[in-house]
């Protein structure tokens, strides 16, 4: 009888432990979601009030004279375009190489290097581009900024591309090969189209990630108070502008930092939610 009661008490305790742990883990999740809501909510709250057409189109002005982030928006778009033009084809090519010729020792080395590159802090990428581009050119430039962002982007794209290509069933590949298709046509005509949506998703997320990068731009693209479209000149970007406004001592500029952040976050969240929507529909 006693042992039976003991077992029952133990079972009760075990059940209680289990429910307590469920509650605890749920609290963790709830906490993380709360932080997200707090951050996004605060951005919306502080940002919405300061946004107007003039803010979105004007260049920065001295304190007390208003001004805007028009040149920073243009600069960010140019930097994103530049880094995508360099980073996307290059990253996809490396990804195809890893997926299609990825068995040898050299490919193993490349895979290792790619993974290493994803782990390199983006500020280090900035330091690197500074030493090889900015120092010799004696000039901060949009080009240096674009290349720094491309270097952040390439390993992400390469690994996503590799993963997506690997998901394409072998039978499709063999089907095409058996018809006398050369390998390059199999890869470009059958495998890549089958993996295209996945690669596009990865590319969009990489662009989103890079659009929030600040550290690699600090000493490459640097920043600018003017509208600039020349690649050999310093160029403004949303993130660096946010940073400069945020660490300034002026309330007016703080408000602008929040407003600029709202613009940036809208872009990034839009991409993420869009990607989520598309991938869910596909699966």
């Amino acid at each position: 009888m006693t042992s039976d009661t003991q077992t029952k008490t133990a079972a009760n305790r075990r059940r209680i432990t289990s429910s307590v742990m469920t509650t605890l883990t749920a609290t963790c999740a709830f906490f993380a979601v709360t932080v997200l809501v707090l951050i996004i909510g605060y951005i919306a709250l502080r940002g919405l009030g300061a946004i107007n057409l003039q803010f979105l189109t004007d260049t920065p002005k001295p304190v007390g004279e208003g001004g805007g982030i028009g040149n920073a928006i243009l600069g960010s778009l140019i930097l994103l375009l530049l880094s995508s033009v360099i980073g996307l084809p290059f990253g996809i090519a490396v990804g195809i190489y890893l997926a299609e010729f990825g068995a040898g020792r050299f490919a193993g080395l490349i895979r290792f290097v790619t993974d290493t590159l994803t782990g390199v802090p983006s500020i280090v990428v900035g330091v690197f581009v500074y030493t090889i581009l900015v120092l010799p050119m004696r000039q901060f430039s949009a080009l240096a900024g674009g290349i720094a962002l491309a270097l952040v982007m390439i390993p992400i794209i390469a690994r996503t591309t590799e993963e997506m290509i690997r998901l394409v069933p072998t039978s499709l590949r063999e089907g095409a090969l058996a018809l006398g298709a050369p390998q390059w046509r199999v890869t470009t005509g059958v495998v890549l189209p089958a993996a295209a949506s996945g690669i596009a998703t990865g590319a969009m997320l990489a662009v989103a990630r890079v659009s929030g990068e600040t550290a690699p731009l600090l000493f490459t693209a640097f920043g600018s108070r003017f509208f600039n479209v020349y690649l050999d000149q310093p160029i403004a970007s949303l993130t660096v502008q946010i940073y400069n406004y945020a660490i300034s001592p002026y309330d007016e500029w703080h408000a602008m930092a929040w407003a600029a952040t709202l613009v940036l976050m809208t872009l990034i969240l839009a991409i993420n939610i869009l990607v989520r929507f598309f991938t869910r529909k596909k699966i």
Partner: protein, 284 residues
């Protein structure tokens, strides 16, 4: 210490042996030239594991040859050596020779792409591309640039679909996705796709194993029909199927070729005890 007589005798016998060997070799060469596909002493390795042992086999023109044997006996592996599909698997190695029309397909400098156009393949699981029905059949024609005009292209597609006995079912929806077809239709589409490039040999790797009896019957009728134009090699685990569609049958066991014979002979009076045991269901 040999006496002159014995020397003469031994010289004579040696000459005879030589002549016999030459004759045998000549015969062999003749048979190899006559055969569409001719395999000699083929060994195949997955890494260190040997999957095929000294396979020698001839497949004549415009016949259907069936490969039978218990699963894992190497029949699919062997089939895939005939169009070098195993090249895509790392760590595999081939020794011996495979000739198609007298040309060694493993000779250095062989254009594997051209080889695979000449030797078509249909897989166990149908694998249509995620494209339209028309584009699936046209794929091989387009990449190999086998047609010079749009009309010719659509003619060839129609011809291939007709030969694969699929035309009546799909002629009104060529633009529809190939994935909208039923399993049996998809497999026939894959056959049409293989036929479109007009291969000389068609390899079929258990083409009906995933299909229902009615679809299977259609595929079998199709194989018998296709024999008139093509050399067909089919792997099957279904002995009745082998008996129904093939002219000759090869029995594989543990990576070795046990017996090749006319199908009739094979299923009524096989030469080997092992074959008989397998066919009568005593093992496997």
């Amino acid at each position: 210490m040999a006496t002159p007589t014995s020397t003469t005798a031994s010289v004579k016998s040696a000459t005879e042996t030589m002549q016999e060997r030459t004759r045998a070799f000549e015969n062999d060469r003749e048979s190899r030239v006559a055969a569409k596909v001719s395999v000699r002493e083929l060994d195949f390795f997955y890494g260190r594991a040997q999957a095929l042992h000294k396979i020698s086999l001839d497949v004549g023109s415009q016949i259907v040859m069936a490969f039978i044997g218990p699963s894992g006996c190497g029949k699919s592996t062997f089939l895939r050596t005939l169009n070098r599909m195993n090249d895509t698997i790392p760590g595999t190695r081939v020794e011996g020779s495979v000739q198609i029309d007298g040309q060694d397909i493993y000779a250095p400098g062989t254009d594997v792409v051209e080889l695979r156009r000449r030797v078509g393949m249909v897989f166990q699981k149908s694998n249509p591309f995620p494209k339209s029905i028309f584009d699936n059949v046209a794929y091989g024609l387009r990449i190999n640039k086998l047609t010079s005009s749009k009309t010719e292209l659509s003619d060839r597609v129609e011809e291939a679909l007709t030969n694969a006995a699929l035309w009546p079912e799909v002629k009104d929806r060529l633009k529809a996705s190939a994935l909208s077809l039923s399993g049996g239709q998809q497999q026939r589409l894959c056959i049409a796709r293989a036929l479109a490039v007009r291969p000389e040999v068609i390899l079929m790797d258990e083409p009906a194993s995933a299909l229902d009896p009615i679809a299977t019957q259609k595929i079998e009728e199709l194989i018998v029909e296709l024999k008139r134009q093509y050399t067909i090699v089919i792997v099957t685990h279904n002995m009745q199927q082998a008996a129904r569609v093939s002219d000759e049958t090869a029995f594989f066991w543990l990576g070795k070729l046990v017996e090749v014979n006319s199908t009739e002979q094979m299923f009524t009076n096989p030469n080997e005890k092992l074959t008989e045991d397998y066919i009568t269901g005593r093992f496997g």
